[in-house]
């Protein structure tokens, strides 16, 4: 089953082996980074990273950058 999501504003075809948010972060090499994840405009707590990612989900990966 092919799943296409919107990831940080871009169309993204989900790799078949990636099922949930934690696995997506791992796939993107972000598992050890300081990030915040929003799914369909809801902020995910870290213990919700096992939520499955479905076709057409909207995911935002946010982080801190330099600023004043």
């Amino acid at each position: 089953m092919k799943r296409t999501i919107e990831l940080n504003g871009n169309r993204y075809d989900m790799p078949a082996e990636v099922g949930n948010v934690q696995e997506l972060l791992g796939h993107l090499e972000l598992a050890e980074r300081i990030v915040i994840v929003e799914m369909n405009r809801d902020i995910l707590a870290k213990d919700a990273y096992d939520l499955p990612i479905n076709d057409r989900d909207q995911i935002e990966i946010i982080h801190f950058v330099g600023g004043g």
């Binding site: 990831l7 940080n8 504003g9 993107l28 090499e29 972000l30 980074r33 300081i34 990030v35 915040i36 929003e38 902020i43 995910l44 707590a45 870290k46 935002e60 990966i61 946010i62 982080h63 801190f64 950058v65 330099g66 600023g67 004043g68």
Partner: protein, 255 residues
Amino acid sequence: MLTIGNKTFNSRLLLGTGKYPSFDVQKEAVRVSESEILTFAVRRMNIFEPSQPNFLEQLDLSKYTLLPNTAGAKTAEEAVRIAKLAKASGLCDMIKVEIIGCDQSLLPDPVETLRATEMLLDEGFIVLPYTSDDVVLARRLCEMGVHAIMPGASPIGSGRGILNPLNLSFIIEQSTVPVIIDAGIGSPKDAAYAMELGADGVLLNTAVSEAGDPIKMALAMKLAIEAGRLGYEAGRMPERDYAVASSPTEGLVTI
């Protein structure tokens, strides 16, 4: 000591983390500044370049309090969303409300700032709104229960220093919470002046990051803020219109 919410700090310099020439220079500038509060922005990650270095991830986070800002927000709702994202990191519960109402001057939108502040206080954040130097607005924010108010000295990144010392001194006099002069500081004299006016702290970024030698400027700002604070506590002499000799006028000898 500077107390904001339930936290106490030795340093009265809050440092922004944007626009440094390199991470090495930035790290050293942060170290010599002895700042304990660092500001950050919250942004969508460039996930297709995950190897990009990130300054925050290079810090010993046990040493610093993070003050994320809501820069980029134009409405209270957008600011609240950014604040909640920042808090979800589990790294901070402070938020600098920054809602720009004018793209040219980057001055804050007072109405949206008030709205966002109220919403964020309800959500239990430690709220530090960036405001203009409007005396009544500052009072309204105080009455709302903010944890500090941060009036600008002059437009963000302009380096023009303190344009309205009278308004700032009224704000300082009336405030029941710490007043941190934020934005527009250009040189150590501006920072010292802010502290001499009685400010509790200074937040600056570009004055250090865009200095010829950011590390040296970070040290200069730290010393200026300490000097200004000491001067304020000591109480300056009165200004007079005419000279008063420092040497005694009695017992003059003719050589």
